[in-house]
Symmetry: C2
Subunit: 149 residues, 2 copies
């Protein structure tokens, strides 16, 4: 027998903006995370609908790992979570911009930002700045899973 | 008869960082453009190898339009070019960050940034700020082609 109406979980209607998102063929949308304080661009990752809803619900950035095919909480293994201050949507609605407060560093290589390498004049990549945490200590000797946060 | 060696165009070897880029299945890499002065995130678009090389060669951002299947100069119809100050590569080498000097506005809807809409508390999208140019006047009555710049 189905539960009586009064026993059912109250259902929250999905937020209106969700209908406007132009999900790609894999049901994902690109999400750029930017430090809400300094403006530094920290990383880009992907979100499915569930990750986006979870992000709004918890205030912590959740993404979708294409390699592991599952949702992940940014910082789930490192503790380096991203508290989301605001979510912005671009004109084509296929890219999100998250303004976040980043704990520790966003990059699994120990840097504050994943964009720590710059193309130098001679065409080679050079690292800028220094890591903000010891990636080996945080993620263990096996090394971090890519995008494990 | 093939031209003598001395008549050939001098060939420039491709920059070393190009080999490190993790192009996606379509031969593209995501590129986030950020205002080099204010730190504002302006847009995200895609680049193929030719667009990336042209960007380095000219100092003006070139992208690859997936809908029109061709390279385009950002600002080719609007004049709103992006002078590239530096190119950064993320840890997985599948996203680029371009720090640029943006002429006019990045968005074909007339805004400085394509991320001019914010998800409000109630889940609806609301525009923030005001357009910096008249998109109708710049792109004509037919409206802009998406990502026509």
């Amino acid at each position: 027998m189905p539960p009586a109406a009064s026993d059912r979980e109250p259902t929250t209607p999905p937020p209106a903006f969700l209908r406007e998102i132009a999900w790609n063929a894999d049901g994902l949308v690109a999400a750029v995370a930017q430090d809400a304080g300094t403006g530094e661009v920290l990383m880009m990752a992907w979100m499915d609908e569930a990750a986006l809803l979870k992000t709004r619900e918890t205030g912590l950035a959740h993404y979708y790992s294409r390699s592991r095919r599952r949702q992940w909480l940014k910082g789930e293994s490192s503790g380096h979570v991203q508290r989301v201050e605001s979510i912005h949507v671009d004109c084509d609605a296929d890219v999100l911009l998250l303004k976040v407060r980043q704990a520790g560093g966003a990059c699994h290589e120990g840097y504050r930002s994943c964009f720590f390498r710059r193309v130098a004049e001679d065409g080679r990549l050079e690292a800028e700045g220094s890591p903000v945490f010891d990636a080996g200590a945080v993620y263990g000797a096996g090394g971090p899973a890519p995008a494990a946060g």
